[in-house]
Amino acid sequence: MRGQLFASQLYTQVDLDSGALVMKCFIAHLLREEGLYHGTVMLGERFVAGFVIEVNEIADETQVTVDLSELHFGARGTAPNEVVKRFAVKTGGYVVLHVGQGDGGYHVLLRNTDDDQSRPWNSQRLDDGDIFSAIPLRPGSYTLSNVSSERTVATRLVVTYPDPRENSRDRPRPTPVYATFKRRRFDPDAFTVDPGQGIVIATKDTARFTLTLDQPDDGSDEIREWHEQQRAELFRIIRGRGGRAVE
């Protein structure tokens, strides 16, 4: 076997943070005002790339998707203030920030250069109208928190362990769970999702969301036993070169 089946970050990065985006989380920010927005991709305290979004009425798209890792890798060897990429979106549209590859850990500063009075937006401090989405994969019990202030607000999120015996091609993929964060409360106030099922949180307050694994779930004893049986059967077939068909 050669190569890697998939990006290791998908299973090693279990805890998620809206203030340090990785491959399994996304932020959507509403661009209400027309103007030329200058974006800065940050990795911790370090500037890694610059980009520009033109927000106006003549743009066709209502959504612009920005891959922060692409900007980061594309900016290597360029001057610190150099704009790596330019985007355009219709006034009132959204910029969706995500990480296509790599370790991530980015946040973004966005400033409307046409409006000196406007306050720069910082993705580490989400605001009314912003949307955070995450796709937890690791089964287990998590704490979903808003850590934007000293008075942390938290709720519970459970990612169920998938029972492979129940898998079926006809089973529809689960749709995301939609929630709001408003007046320092999550609604709903508890979540249960399947691995890979998204959660989408529209915030009405200032927020920085974190998802922290408290207790991993490695499946029931029954599932583990079933796996052992499957494995033993495989070994028996391979060693004995016989027996019933593999399946």
Partner: protein, 348 residues
Amino acid sequence: MSDVTLKVSEQTFGEVFNLVYPGKSLKFKGESPGAKDAAIKTSETSTETSKSKTYLNVTVPWFAIDAELHLVAANGIEFNDGNTFTINEIDIAWDKLILKVGLDIPTMKFGGFCLFKVPKSVPVFGGKCALEVPPIDLFTKTPDIEIPLDLSPIFKFIITEISAICSIEIRAENEKGKDYWAVHPDPIAVDADLVDIHDTLGQAPAILYAAVGTIVLNFQAAFPATWVMDVFLGFVGLPTMTSLVLDVLDIHDDIEEWLMKALEQSIGIDNLLMEVIFDAILDGDAVFKTPKLFEILEEKKVKPDELGGFAVAAPAGDVTLPAVSFPVIKPEVVFDDDEMVLTFDFEF
């Protein structure tokens, strides 16, 4: 009427053929052409419901073969009219038969869902997705798996029927500085068929299932933890890695049929066999040869008095009598009833 006529019977010809050709190791390799670009759609996406169904488009498995064989004997040689002969059966023995199976795990996507829908109260666009997150790709990093299946335990079940029609021709050759007329079989057509191995495989299915089992274990080992594998299987909608590997390999109920398909249709082992045997006969040694200069008398040193006839005493020392040779011209070979007839003339 030719000066020299040599006749060789079918039986003798066959015996000479079997002295010259068998034993040489013949190697060949091959792979399924363009398989990596093709795809098997293993399930459909339903358009009846708004929810998407799990589906998996898998690329056709890629096959390659690395083989070595040798000719054992040519049986049933028959001389034909029209200066050709037929070998009704060429026995071969496999020395190596490695079937390589390559799996290209298809890129899968998850995520890619809607963040925000337009309220249903909005005309035209109501209920439609206004904002989407980009999907996350799985299996993008050249995740090919290449597993060699050693088919040596089932050599004896892989029976081939090979026949050939050859013409016979005479080529001018030089060997160690001497020129020859060499009689060579010249293949016109070779036909190779794998006998349908369904009924002859015997214990082979078990061996093949064991090979599949090995692939499954290899695949499982690529997953860092059981939970990752179970999450992945959930995405694919299959219960076990075994079912996934069988699916990706496109093995259904009949593993013998799968093997035949892989060897015959994907790799075209018949054609490869034909080519290698064609080349082996074409490039083989001559079955008969005769020097271009046919020596009647060897070079000889004699004392002059041995020659006699001298009126006075013969000179001392030896004299060399040169060899006496006749150039061989107009060599021809034809099949006449049950005999190969080789004729040539001497140029005086």
